[in-house]
């Protein structure tokens, strides 16, 4: 067998103008569309509020998901509760749909390890992963455990297109291929890895084609089209559950914000490019479609905006009232039983805090 290039068809259901391409599949119900929309609006509200918190010194460095809400939302809606989600760090929407409260997500970015203490359906999910691409390998391990035990579950991992340059990405994908692991890889191709544009990240025409290296299925979807993302992930999850192996999904989107609050993207990319990208962003198009389909009206929009604002403000309040964790916690979770040397160091830290009048 060899592989030859053929013209590519990116999967899309609702285009940038809110028009349906072909027809929506059965899996995409009105209810789903409305839930998608509500989720995306909530997450955008959250996102902008957290950026504001950071600007006023009440938050650590934060990675905004502005413009990429459809990816996290599509994933969150398609993933099943027994599956395991391994995020990178722009997965606010998925985490929200995995029932991780907004204030807990704030607590993470605010710098408190207790934020990673998920419960409910996220109980086995991984926390955000900072060392790029390493989570892809963990996901292969999680999927291996599922396969070894013969469970009908899968792991779903996300990463950026920059992450696809790292060895971890390929080593893990290769394993997915050869062990036929129940695993879904979703690449958020937001065109930038900090200041490095997609075209100097790899010579491959698409990220999706990297799947060929592992002998697995790979395809591109419009990552600003929540329906397309949802449908693609649903397909890949079902495939994984039925023992047919892994899938690489390239969700093509755009990072409308800075890389993080520590970054200033005007240094390396043009306003024009960003303005162009705004025309394809995910929320507006779905709103247009919902309006056009009489699924949504101005009152509902008003109510939703108000609701989201309130929820987010409530989360901010909870977040800001959460105390820093007890100092002892820094020492007691390295090992199941705290060894002697750490017990000693803990004691010293507590004494020091006491001396300094700290809590």
């Amino acid at each position: 067998m060899q592989y030859t290039k053929t013209p590519y068809q990116q999967k899309q259901m609702i285009d940038a103008n809110g028009a349906v391409v072909g027809s929506l599949p059965e899996s995409v119900s009105d209810e789903l569309l409305l839930k998608s929309y509500r989720t995306m609006v909530m997450i955008r509200t959250f996102d902008q509020r957290v950026v504001a918190l950071q600007r006023t010194g009440q938050m650590g460095t934060y990675a905004s998901c502005l413009g990429q809400e459809a990816i996290g939302t599509g994933i969150g809606l398609a993933l099943k509760k027994d599956d395991v989600f391994l995020p990178y760090y722009r997965d606010q929407a998925t985490q929200y749909l995995r029932d991780i409260p907004l204030h807990q997500q704030m607590q993470y970015w605010g710098g408190n390890e207790w934020a990673n203490h998920f419960s409910g359906i996220a109980q086995q999910d991984f926390p955000n992963c900072v060392p790029i691409a390493t989570q892809v390998t963990h996901a292969a391990g999680v999927a291996s455990a599922m396969k070894i035990r013969g469970e009908k579950r899968c792991s779903l991992v996300t990463c950026g297109e920059g992450a696809t340059s790292r060895g971890d990405f390929y080593e893990a994908m290769n394993l997915v291929g050869v062990w036929q692991l129940p695993m879904v890889m979703v690449v958020n191709n937001n065109q930038w890895a900090i200041s490095v544009p997609r075209n100097i990240q790899t010579g491959a025409e698409t990220i999706a084609q990297k799947a060929v290296a592992a002998g697995i299925e790979g395809f591109q979807v419009d990552g600003n089209d929540v329906c397309a993302v949802y449908d693609a992930v649903r397909y890949a999850v079902n495939k994984a559950h039925s023992g047919k192996g892994g899938t690489l999904i390239e969700a093509v989107s755009y990072r409308l914000g800075d890389h993080t609050t520590a970054d200033d993207a005007t240094r390396y990319r043009s306003h024009e490019e960003v303005n162009e990208a705004w025309k394809r962003e995910p929320i507006k198009r779905l709103q247009t479609y919902l309006h056009a389909s009489d699924l949504w009206d101005e009152d509902q929009e008003q109510a939703l905006q108000e609701h989201c604002k309130q929820e987010v403000e409530q989360a901010v309040k909870t977040y800001l009232s959460q105390p820093a964790q007890p100092v002892a916690d820094l020492f007691d979770y390295l090992f199941e039983e705290t060894p002697a040397h750490l017990a000693l160091q803990k004691q010293r830290a507590l004494e020091k805090m006491a001396r300094l009048g700290g809590k």
Partner: protein, 347 residues
């Protein structure tokens, strides 16, 4: 520390284990026996690595496991160390107990990101929600005339990392007991096997599934005049040195550190408080090796007992030479004796 309790959980058929008959085995056989025992006792224990399944490992540590426990629990991975470490983290987070083999310690560096940034932190990062009960086994050390990169002893790199245990057996008995405990341990363990002594001595072992504690040093020989501290293959030269010293009227205490991190410093300090003199022997390069930590910690805590500077017998700050000159690198019992005598001569 025993694994008996777990046998009840066992959800697969297993041969009844004879715990009464002693086996006279080498260290590599003891490791193989411990792996069998652990897999028998706990269905969550899985073994993975390069050439560990069909081939039984290039040193035969995993021989027989695939036939006994099947390919789902004994897995030949693709040739990728980062992957081996990384999927072990993922498996462990799903409550498996992966025992991964890195074929030689010289190829362990590609695992470091997953060990340092993930295995060592998963419990802490999630405040106990996800844990990482994995074991990363690797043959280590020189002296077998192997090609380049097959003789490394860079245990210090792992010893510096908070959140993992680093365990090194130096006899068949300790290999069996420490490996069982490492696998049973709820946290990640780097288990380094001094390959030079894989087949050097045999000991009588009962396959009783009883582990040895990971939080203690092992005093192999009591003595009054000087404390000799070592771990891994060098324990053998150290014991020989103690014999030679004995012939010269010197009574040397010999301690096998066994778990180099976290360290049982109390045992070491107590010994030096008794003897007042100390030599630490490591195979690894000198600069920033584990001997430095032991030396620093002892002088901190036993300063007023010390009658002479603590001496270190170590490898050179060079890579292990290609095989024609390997012998220059390795220290012998005489080198240890010399250092001890020198230390004893300090007024």
């Amino acid at each position: 520390m025993g694994m008996h309790e777990k046998i009840a959980d066992l959800n697969q058929k297993h041969k009844p284990v004879d715990t009464k008959t002693p086996h006279v085995v080498t260290m590599i056989e003891a490791i193989n026996m411990a792996l069998h025992r652990a897999m028998d006792a706990d269905p969550n224990v899985v073994v993975l690595g390069e050439d560990v399944a069909t081939n039984g490992g290039v040193f035969r540590a995993t021989v027989g496991l695939k036939d006994r426990f099947g390919h789902k629990r004994v897995m030949d991975t693709p040739l990728a160390e980062t992957l081996i470490a990384g999927i072990s983290v993922g498996m462990a987070a799903q409550q498996l107990r992966p025992v991964a083999e890195i074929q030689f310690m010289g190829f362990i560096y590609a695992t470091m990101e997953h060990i340092v940034s993930h295995a060592a932190r998963l419990r802490n990062r999630t405040r106990g929600r996800l844990t990482c009960p994995m074991v990363l086994r690797a043959p280590y050390g020189g002296g077998i005339h192997a090609p380049e990169h097959h003789s490394e002893s860079t245990e210090a790199l792992f010893a510096h990392i908070p959140g993992i245990r680093v365990v090194i057996p130096s006899s068949p008995t300790r290999a069996y007991g420490l490996l069982l405990s490492a696998i049973e341990d709820p946290d990640p363990v780097i288990f380094l096997e001094p390959k030079r002594i894989y087949r050097m001595v045999k000991q009588e072992i009962y396959d009783d599934g009883v582990g040895l504690p990971l939080d203690t040093c092992y005093t192999l020989r009591q003595g009054e005049h000087i404390t000799l501290i070592s771990w891994g293959a060098m324990v053998h030269e150290t014991l020989q040195a103690a014999d030679k010293l004995h012939q010269q009227g010197v009574s040397a205490e010999v301690i096998d550190v066994a778990t180099i991190s976290p360290l049982d410093i109390d045992t070491l300090v107590a010994s030096v408080q008794k003897t007042g003199r100390c030599v630490i022997i490591q195979e690894a390069a000198r600069h920033c090796g584990v001997a430095a930590e032991i030396c620093a910690a002892i002088q901190e805590q036993a300063f007023h007992s010390l009658q002479a500077p603590i001496a270190r017998v170590t490898g050179f700050d060079t890579p292990m030479p290609y095989l024609q000159r390997e012998n220059v690198y390795m220290n012998s019992a005489s080198d240890i004796v010399d250092a001890a005598i020198h230390t004893l001569e300090v007024a």
